[in-house]
């Protein structure tokens, strides 16, 4: 009896020792592509580490995050955020008809999807309505870490019992050691799960489209693409750059919210107005990045446009007035930017130069060969 006890004491001592010695995470520095912002949205209490990112990648792809183990009811981030579609579910998804996902309960998400591209540079607000932002008085709604908790609990997504999730992962052989390496404790918490996944999401960087290579002087755009580029960048052309960035802002989004003139009546309770309570924000949503549009149909928060052509037609002649329309929609008087069919084709050709195919097959972002068990 005494002997057994001694062994346990000894082994627990040993374990303690291990704990202190094994927590030496390797710092991970984001490589900032040419002309990308230097300002990164990484909270002080969650520095990026190789170990954190590795763990985050496992969790991102692990359907047990929903607290369930039955293959039919498991759900992971990757159930909806699919790499080959630039991390949206895709318009031809077999289950999520038309690209509109629903949660484990069958309740559809409040909006269509947003891709996960270059999110580490978003310093002003996540989600379509910008509800998750640094400095939010609601300290639970400030960053990617908080989105994970949100996703896990709401009925439109995982609707998980977070206690069950913790217990489930604690019992899996592979995970406690990974948490130990990433955070210095093998006790699994939802907080650390959020931190790890957020770290992984921050590595999802796209900066290798044809346009990027053009800006780096490596390739030339063809004449249609160049004409489209000029249209995109000029006030008397398509006038897209004021909200979607461009040569001076390679994210192709300001990450700010605008009402871009789609409607005159607004019924969505989750627009930007719901966040700011400023009546000028009624019907306003974040101008999403235009990178990888080739993969991210359907478009807009409500998925109303199925193709890029439909989007361009809308900006060309479909604008409608409302009191809160953005003052940047200055072609409103003529219903839009009035592009000819040829100009529309050129603008589309330019938008497609923002396609980064290496991003959607980058193995570092993909499903790990084997999940911990």
């Amino acid at each position: 009896m005494m002997f057994v006890l001694m062994i346990t004491i000894l082994s627990s001592c040993k374990k303690k020792e291990d704990q202190t010695t094994t927590y030496t995470p390797t710092p991970y520095a984001i490589q900032i592509p040419l002309r990308f912002p230097s300002l990164l949205n990484i909270p002080k209490d969650n520095p990026m580490t190789q170990e954190g990112i590795e763990l985050g990648r496992y969790l991102f792809y692990d359907g047990r995050l929903s607290g369930r183990t039955d293959p039919d009811s498991m759900m992971s981030c990757s159930t909806c955020h699919i790499q080959s579609n630039s991390f949206v579910c895709g318009i031809d998804h077999p289950k999520f008809k038309g690209g509109h996902p629903f949660g484990i309960t069958g309740i559809p998400t409040s909006h269509y999807m947003l891709p996960m591209i270059n999110l580490v540079w978003n310093t002003t607000g996540y989600l379509w309505n910008g509800a998750i932002y640094p400095g939010n008085p609601d300290i639970q709604s400030r960053n990617l870490e908080d989105i994970v908790r949100l996703v896990m609990t709401i009925p439109q997504e995982m609707y998980a019992d977070t206690n069950r999730v913790k217990i489930l992962f604690q019992q899996l052989n592979g995970y406690p050691g990974l948490f130990q390496k990433a955070f210095g404790s093998d006790v699994i918490t939802i907080k650390n799960m959020g931190k790890a996944i957020a770290q992984f999401v921050r590595t999802l960087i796209s900066a290798n489209s044809k346009f990027d290579r053009f800006m780096r002087g490596e390739v030339q755009l063809n004449s249609e693409e160049l004409d489209g580029y000029v249209l995109f960048m000029t006030e008397q052309g398509g006038d897209c750059f004021h909200c979607h960035g461009g040569d001076g802002n390679p994210l192709f989004t300001t990450n700010l919210c605008y009402n871009n003139g789609k409607d005159s009546v607004f019924t969505d309770p989750l627009d930007h107005y719901s966040v700011t309570k400023n009546s000028m924000d009624i019907g306003a949503y974040k101008a999403p990045t235009l990178r990888n549009l080739a993969f991210t149909a359907p478009y807009m928060h409500d998925g109303r446009f199925k193709t890029i052509d439909e989007v361009i037609d809308f900006y060309s002649s479909g604008l409608v007035w409302s009191p809160s329309i953005s003052p940047l929609m200055h072609h409103l008087r003529t219903g839009g930017v009035q592009l000819t069919p040829i100009k529309k084709a050129h603008l589309k050709a330019f938008l497609l130069t923002l396609t980064d195919s290496s991003f959607v097959i980058n193995p570092a972002f993909g499903r790990p060969a084997k999940l911990p068990d």
């Binding site: 912002p37 052309g237 003052p327 003529t334």
Partner: protein, 274 residues
């Protein structure tokens, strides 16, 4: 983030010292000895017809009969100098000498200059509205909010001097319509201004404002200089603006930007308080 900021601080310190050195070498510029003393605090105020500028309310009117509201106002001020005796001036280099103001973000209303201006009596202050050619360099601001002021390469590059977004209407209109009162580098077109292939040159539209009113910089004192933008002047000093004259905006209409900038020369006032 904190670590990042301290990095920026260190980096800008190094940069500042470089700037100081180059000032020193340049014979026309007075040598600046860095002191904790004699700091200037610039304070930015936005008025319309003498009252605090209100956003998003249709309460303003131009002499041409346009009603308007202001929705956004963002701009750059740069090249501040304090002057005394003729030919002697001191260029303020804090924050690279460039300050960005968002009239809806109070945190941008104060600019504390840490250069340590030598004490003495100065007779005037001058600054550049926008960015001069040497400073208006594309891609210099990778981070928001300054980044979002970028001016497309094809239209001359660099940054908007000012973005004033507004909505306006006249008596024949029912709904207020957007107008982007945006200023930056202008283009000369040989023909149609919708065709950028016909651009034959670029025009710098920035201008300098100088205010003569003597003030003292004293050791261990903060001199406050209040810079006021009188919004109505942009539309109504030298050139009465009628928004319907510019259905396509003014970014690609040099005459429009020229008229606006002529008005802008009258839009600023400076006051200094001790």
């Amino acid at each position: 983030m904190n670590r990042f900021f301290s990095f920026v601080k260190v980096a800008s310190f190094i940069l500042l010292s470089v700037v100081f050195f180059s000032c020193h070498k340049n014979g026309t510029v007075e040598e600046i000895t860095i002191k904790k003393n004699g700091n200037i605090l610039f304070q930015f105020t936005h008025l319309n017809n003498g009252n605090e500028l209100l956003f998003d309310t249709m309460i303003y009117r131009t002499s041409t009969g346009n009603q308007y509201m202001i929705n956004d106002l963002q701009y750059f001020i740069s090249g501040f100098q304090v002057h005394r005796a003729k030919d002697k001036w001191i260029q303020i280099v804090s924050d690279k000498g460039i300050h960005y103001i968002d009239a809806q973000d109070k945190s941008t209303f104060l600019w504390k200059v840490t250069d340590g201006i030598p004490p003495g009596v100065y007779d005037s202050v001058s600054f550049i509205f926008g960015l001069d050619a040497a400073n208006n360099i594309s891609f210099r601001f990778p981070d928001p909010p300054e980044r979002d002021m970028f001016w497309p390469e094809i239209l001359g590059g660099g940054y908007h001097y000012m973005k004033m977004n507004l909505k306006w209407k006249n008596n024949s209109m029912t709904d207020p319509m957007p107008f982007m009162f945006h200023l930056g580098i202008g283009q000369m077109y040989n023909g149609d201004s919708t065709n950028t292939d016909s651009i034959i040159g670029y025009i710098q539209n920035y201008f300098t404002i100088k205010s003569f009113s003597p003030f003292a910089i004293k050791d261990n004192q903060l001199t406050r200089i209040n810079l006021i933008m009188n919004i109505e002047k942009w539309f109504d000093s030298q050139n009465a603006f009628n928004f319907s004259d510019y259905p396509m905006g003014i970014m690609q209409n040099q005459l429009g930007m020229y008229r606006a900038c002529m008005n802008g020369r009258k839009a600023f006032a400076m006051k200094n308080e001790q």
